[in-house]
Symmetry: C2
Subunit: 320 residues, 2 copies
């Protein structure tokens, strides 16, 4: 049973001092490694690990090719400014190869997970010699999986490290007593900029979850460009989450008086408190038309834009 520290009760300076000490004590003369995604959890862990271990922590950012526009550069720049060395690994080809031909959302998710853990990050961990793995697991993640040993055992398996010979390896999870709001508070105290600690959630499988059907490099690029426009035009909209989704269905359109069998982008923008229930954000009609105009003008191949007007439930926030 993990003792929860609520955001309200969280004393950030005490928490940071204790976690830094615990990481130092655990790693000792060894070295540690962690994967930074740019999300609030892994960013906060990176800051804690950096404070505890300095150069003895190797932080890697894996560019999986399904990230938002400019994301690897953005994350690298943020941590450079914080004087934290982050190694950017270009693994785009490996991820796109793993996604090839897959249309089922569950299989897509699985392909990304497998490529990340076993193939790319697993290889880096195994080759690094580091025996300590820093992970941004939070209490909500634990609630959602089997707690304790079994869970850590699974991480080793995922990394392709035989649990039987994994004696030397250890996973450190300094955020395990916190929930998302507590992590944001700790991240802020550790000096992360607001754009990181207040970052809206983004799905694990990244833009591949925003593509219905096969996530090819071209289709990822299409939804990436639409995402830029949606995030730009809806920047000042107070919403829980906004997204662009590329459909696999083709719809008829017209370009220069010619029939153009094109693509459709669906926009979703949610009002929600806790993500369990959500309503479509009431966007002004001219703004919806502006989104449609800019997307069909600037994103190659897109001739149609819709706005989702369903509530959750029966919808979910993401489409796949």
């Amino acid at each position: 049973m993990i003792a929860e520290i609520t955001a309200k009760k969280l004393n950030t300076s005490q928490f940071i001092t204790e976690q830094v000490a615990a990481i130092r004590a655990a790693v000792g003369d060894g070295t540690a490694i962690n994967a930074l995604s740019g999300g609030v959890d892994s960013s906060t862990v990176t800051m804690l690990g950096h404070r505890a271990l300095g150069a003895k922590l190797r932080s890697v950012f894996i560019n999986n090719g399904i990230m938002r526009q400019g994301e690897p550069e953005r994350v690298a720049a943020i941590f450079k400014k914080l004087s934290v060395a982050v190694e950017v690994i270009d693994a785009q080809a490996e991820f796109l190869a793993a996604l090839k031909g897959i249309t089922d959302p569950e299989q897509k998710r699985e392909a990304i997970t497998q490529t990340f853990y076993r193939q790319v990050f697993g290889r880096i961990v195994r080759e690094s010699g580091a025996k300590f793995l820093l992970q941004g697991t939070i209490l909500t993640d634990v609630d959602e999986t089997v707690a304790g040993i079994k869970r850590q055992h699974n991480v080793f398996e995922q990394l392709g490290i035989d649990p039987q010979v994994a004696f030397g390896y250890r996973i450190l999870e300094p955020l395990i007593q916190l929930r998302k709001d507590g992590v944001r508070k700790a991240g802020q105290a550790l000096g992360l900029p607001a754009e990181v600690y207040n970052r809206p959630p983004f799905p694990g499988p990244a833009l591949s979850a925003r593509v219905i059907g096969e996530a090819t490099a071209e289709r990822i690029e299409t939804v990436r460009q639409a995402t830029v426009i949606v995030e730009k035009l809806l920047k000042n909209v107070k919403a829980f989450q906004c997204m662009a989704i590329l459909h696999a269905d083709r719809v008829t359109g017209m370009r220069n008086n010619q029939r153009d069998f094109g693509q459709q982008i669906e926009i979703r923008c949610w009002d929600s408190v806790d993500a369990r229930q959500a309503q479509p954000t009431k966007l002004a009609f001219p703004l919806l038309q502006k989104l449609a105009k800019e997307i069909t003008t600037k994103v190659p191949g897109v001739v149609s834009v819709t706005y989702n007007v369903t509530s959750k439930p029966p919808s979910t926030m993401e489409a796949v």
Copy 2:
């Protein structure tokens, strides 16, 4: 060159008298046949033909299984009230068989056209012994195809009647000098109810054009039910055309806390003067949410509803 009669210049009583006389003169002691779809053109032709020929005209309404809810009954009831005998032919199985496995919109359209002309209506014409075919061709149709002989030649071919032996056959097109607004005026003068002569346009391939992907009986039924809701809730909206479209893409939804990989309905509602350009109708947000709620509640399998916010161009009014 066909001499156009504009709606403004159309003298309906003179027009009806002349066309009735022309039909009578042409058919003489013979018999005529026509296919009534319930649209304004074929309904007006049916009224003209009935006035000219009475029982010597056989009007058939072919139920192709891809019509709106209650459509065959509605059309039959309207003409019964006008004392015009209409024969309803149940050809649902033939059309659905022809659509089986077809996902390409052009092939779908072609399958429906072929099944209508060559298979179902062609068979009825050939077996009827009628040599005169009444057609609701209007001037706009002529503009869109090759004019004159070639066009009529094509109709015989479509009907499976060898043009070489088609000497006896003749096509009568009493509306050929009119455009849509003129036909509405003539239809009204012939006693058609407003729901017929003011009927919003509906695509030739009917509900199969409102289904992206394969038009199975089940999927046609899904979009038919969504269409009922869209037409009911948008009845008082002043729009050029409103429609429900069933997507082939599956999206994630939730039912009773269970993941439900369901279907999506897209609503389109257009403001337009002449269909060449169109803007999405500015529907009130609560109305959009009501549409989503009613469709996801009442139409089995649908978990998501979107509203199209693109203009034409680059969109078209129909999706396929």
